[in-house]
């Protein structure tokens, strides 16, 4: 059996070592990853995928630890992917989300993986989607994806998860301003963590006020749950709400969302394929460098240059 077949079989059998190796392949060898994902794809689609996003310091990792415990109490197996930023200057990363989850690491029903963004924009890594599929194929019932500390634009998570939790905490200053614009709109559930602090109610009211501004008729109104992640207070209620949202999705929207997700992934795959093949061809024919020079010399602007090159290409 080839090395990759061994890994595929291991993933499908839920072997932890092989799951770990598979995620490394997804992160570092795109060609091998393609085969791997193609082989396991028919075995995916069973897990419930939850995305957790919000500003740094709101308590994402601590909350996840408590959520995992609650799911374990309910007899579910859980996968966690915790994403932290890569330094754009050195390419290195400090992955510290596990600090809050380490007691879970010896539970055989839990698999936790830290992942660096490797400079992918949008709050998750390029390989996060594949890692979710790997954990799904490996039979995890619930998969939780923690994004990097998010502000306005870390919304890639909607392409990965079915239920999005946006977490906020009192005393984080004006982050609420930041989450208004972007991540606010993707929330299926809001969590106000550190609810034992003063101003927690104000944070709840802020979110409520924002939700009321949006007066479009919606089939699902995002609930606001107060939690204290350190003690676990409010977590069972949060899990109930996630369950409710899941049932709602199944009834109303799951198929539509699945189609949207499939569309986004297909478009991205086509883009990548087309872009790299065109650029490779242009480079091979030395036209790429020539145009680069012209752009630098201000003979042509980048957008017009791209159009010109593509027109020649598509004729």
């Amino acid at each position: 059996m080839s090395k990759i077949d061994e890994i595929i079989n291991g993933v499908l059998a839920g072997n932890r070592r092989k799951i770990a190796k598979a995620i490394t392949i997804a992160e570092s060898s795109p060609e091998e990853a393609k085969n791997l994902i193609a082989s396991i794809y028919p075995h995916t689609g069973k897990a419930q995928i939850i995305g957790l996003t919000g500003p740094g310091g709101a308590g994402k990792s601590t909350l996840i630890e408590k959520m995992v415990r609650e799911y374990r109490r309910r007899g579910k197996t859980v996968g966690v992917i915790a994403v932290d930023p890569t330094s754009p200057f050195t390419g290195g990363a400090f992955l510290g989300d596990r600090i809050r989850m380490q007691e879970l690491s010896t539970d055989e029903g839990v698999f936790i993986r830290s992942m660096a963004t490797r400079n992918n924009p949008g709050g998750i890594a390029k390989a996060t989607k594949d890692a979710v599929k790997i954990l799904d194929a490996a039979g995890k019932d619930v998969i939780i994806v923690e994004t990097v500390g998010a502000g306005q634009s870390e919304v890639e998570i909607i392409k990965v998860a079915q239920t999005i939790i946006v977490i906020h905490a009192p005393g984080l200053g004006d982050e609420i301003q930041a989450i208004k614009a972007g991540i606010m709109e993707i929330a299926d559930i809001f969590v106000v963590n550190k609810a034992d602090r003063e101003n927690a109610d104000k944070a709840v009211m802020d979110i409520q006020a924002m939700l009321q501004l949006d007066n479009k008729e919606k089939p699902w109104t995002p609930p606001i749950i107060k939690t204290v992640a350190l003690t676990g207070e409010g977590v069972p209620k949060l899990i109930e709400k996630i369950e409710e949202h899941w049932q709602f999705l199944k009834k109303e929207l799951l198929h539509k969302r699945s189609l949207e997700k499939a569309e986004a992934e297909l478009i991205e795959a086509i883009k990548e394929k087309v872009t790299s093949s065109i650029i490779e061809k242009l480079k091979r024919e030395k036209r790429f460098e020539k145009v680069l020079q012209q752009i630098v010399e201000r003979e042509i602007d980048p957008a017009s240059a791209a159009e010109k090159l593509l027109n020649q290409e598509l004729e």
Partner: protein, 135 residues
């Protein structure tokens, strides 16, 4: 750009130490050298360390210890690594470890021991060289 293998390192603190300044300095230096460093915090059991190394698929483990319990904890860690088949992981140690204990630690598979005051450049160089040998 995003593809290609990165060196993944677990910096772990076994036992009951109550501070982790040294571990964090090493973690930061390795990060600044372009590696992905997983840090798991204080008071880790050998089981937690080995299980983390497995799930994170690391290439390197750096063990930091100040409590004097290295002869009790390190053999257990090395044994668990063997049991789980993680024999290709490079393990080095640092902290307060008496000179006379080093041969014993090397015998059980700890590849290198760095004492207090080791320049971080030396550790970076050590990891990079050992990773290069592998490929």
């Amino acid at each position: 750009m995003q593809s290609g293998k990165k060196i993944r390192v677990l910096i772990a603190k076994p036992g009951l130490d109550s501070h982790d300044r040294g571990a964090k300095i090493v973690a930061r230096a390795l990060r600044d050298a372009g590696m992905e460093v997983i840090y798991t915090g204080l008071r880790q059991t050998p089981e937690q360390i080995v299980e983390t190394a497995l799930q994170e698929d690391v290439d390197v483990i750096g063990l930091s210890i100040l409590s004097g319990a290295h002869l009790a904890l390190f053999p257990r860690i090395m044994e668990l690594l063997r049991q789980k088949g993680l024999t290709d992981v490079l393990v080095f140690a640092g902290g307060i470890i008496p000179e006379e204990d080093i041969p014993e630690l090397k015998k059980i598979g700890i590849k290198e021991v760095f004492g207090p005051g080791t320049p971080t450049e030396m550790i970076i160089k050590y990891v990079l060289e050992n990773m290069q040998k592998r490929t």
